[in-house]
Subunit: 331 residues, 2 copies
DNA sequence: TTGTAGGCGTTATCAC
DNA sequence: GTGATAACGCCTACAA
């Protein structure tokens, strides 16, 4: 069934059918009615490709994220998709993996698809030399690029991110005020947000005249058993509290405490990040930073739509995080 | 930049450019070289829509799932996407929500997009009267439909699913052999797989001459606190073990045990489902059924590709589950 | 090995 | 209001 068939059956021209399909006002009620009936009877569906060809868009945006199996990104993708749906846009999902070369390939593959925008979930590595970054800047020449929880300067590049710096600054300060002096900082990557979190940690310590002990900054895989085992191997190290850049690592710290017989929060306070389901699953339940994924994603899509609508939008929007206090801390 | 521009710049016809783009063998090395150079210089990218128009496909399949924020589905989507990528296919993701009307809309929206196939993640409600089902059967007239963990008969409809019946049968039997007599069954929906799980539970009890006590079958939302609270409200009910159709509910049962001061597994054994990260996060760690999401998804995509390749594939493929034993049970 | 021309199904721009 | 008709950019016989 093509528009020609419908036109013939309805006794009108294809132009008229097209007008009916697209809800043009200048069609008489009578013909509109006839065409509608024929379309319904024949179960006609306009060909999306032809439509895309003519319009230059298929109302589709690309979402690239390293790994949707990660609960945080899954949530983000879910929110993004929901909001896009609300505007009548589709999304094509591409999981790139964390490797730079793979991310580059992901972007270049998606660029060939005439998408209306590219949304990157999860922070881009902050290494300014990275080939991905120059590629992204080039890509932005063709379509707008949005980073969710990442930062990149450039024309037609927009960033929406949680205020991870402030969030970690605040919680570090709370721990200090609660009397903690040896706060272990567990980080899992060199991403932009991981870096900002660490800066918040260091700044808060400095603000309270505490030295930053490099041994208290531990790089670690975001996995419960891996973190537990890493901590078990640090027998020389003493610490009275833990801030982790991901909930999984914080739970690993709880597991470590359980193995060592440390009481949480009395002997060890633990703070996680993302306020994921893990944080209410473990024992005791985990104090965690909620970085407002829903708001972040809604803001992103609203901004994108405003942009596509020709409006001007801020290059960078920062969203305040919330600290969710639970039983793994005593402040 | 269109194919015409490239042709002009390279001093050849568009047909030749097209041949180069599509890797046709009948082009002289020399012209191939020239055309390649021009394409590189101009940063030419073929228009995907025009391509789709001509070929009738854009190598894209639709994935519809109720909610990617659910870790189980997120994993499934991740695996599906990864496998599709391997075959050079893209996926467009649509989160439908659980409501029947919304699912129907999701399918009909996706049907208009000239996709090569539709993959439905998460079980379809088994009510044969449902409008979604007839709609799906109709949809299958246009493109192949795959259900991951669901069942539907019909032409051009294919199902790949875990053997949930057997998995629950087996674990129920293990509990019985371990001396448990009052096994609480926690279920969260009337989906096909939830139904099969319950059948496995009842069959195993029957096989051991145990009555099915209807009060021991509890419907419950898949949420840790909701499950805990539900159990706390069942004060009259006695049970010595719990089988949950989702890990979240099993963790809820653990939380309930903690509140009541019941020792796990001595006084209460708990079994979850999906072997999600929750199962190693809680305390004690959770015995859980692994339904082999990765294998399920790989099988799905391999089958799809075989089908698109013109081969015949089985209408239904059942994958055996694995029981992962941890500290919440003592068998 | 290469080029020409028609077709794919729309949308959009004209006339009428 | 409505109808021709030219894009849109590519693919693919068919010719040369």
């Amino acid at each position: 069934m093509t528009i020609y068939d419908i036109a013939k059956l309805a006794g009108v021209s294809i132009a008229t059918v097209s007008r009916v399909v697209n809800g043009s006002p200048k069609v008489s009620e009578k013909t509109k009615e006839t065409v509608r009936r024929v379309m319904a009877e024949t179960n006609y569906t306009p060909n999306a490709f032809a439509r895309g060809l003519g319009l230059g868009t298929m109302q589709t945006v690309g979402i690239v994220c390293p790994d949707v199996a990660d609960p945080y990104m899954a949530k983000a993708v879910s929110y993004l998709e929901k909001n896009l749906q609300g505007y009548g846009y589709d999304c094509i999902l591409y999981c790139s993996g964390y490797d730079d070369a793979d991310r580059e390939q992901a972007v270049s593959l998606l660029l060939k698809k005439q998408l209306d925008a590219l949304l990157l979930v999860g922070s881009i590595f902050s290494d300014e030399q990275s080939a991905v970054l120059t590629q992204l800047r080039e890509a932005a020449a063709r379509i707008p690029i949005f980073l969710i929880n990442g930062v990149l300067s450039g024309d037609n590049v927009y960033c929406v991110l949680g205020d991870d710096y402030q969030a970690v600054y605040d919680v570090t300060e709370e721990l200090v005020l609660a009397g903690k002096r040896r706060i272990l900082f567990l980080t899992n990557s060199s991403s932009y947000s991981a870096g900002r979190k660490q800066q918040g940690y260091e700044a808060a310590l400095a603000a309270h005249q505490l030295d930053v002990d490099a041994r208290l900054i531990l790089h670690c895989e975001n996995s419960i058993p891996a973190t537990r085992d890493l901590l078990l191997r640090q027998r020389g190290l003493t610490f009275d509290s833990v801030i982790a850049t991901e909930d999984g690592m914080a739970v690993g710290a709880l597991k470590y405490a359980a193995v060592c017989g440390l009481r949480v929060p009395d002997e060890l306070s633990v703070v996680g990040y993302n306020n994921s389901e893990l944080s209410i699953c473990c024992e005791p339940e985990l104090t965690s930073v909620d970085n407002r994924g829903e708001l972040l994603c809604r803001t992103t899509i609203d901004s994108l739509m405003a942009l596509l609508d020709g409006q001007t939008i801020p290059k960078q929007q920062v969203i305040k995080c919330h600290l969710i206090k639970r039983a793994s801390t005593d402040f």
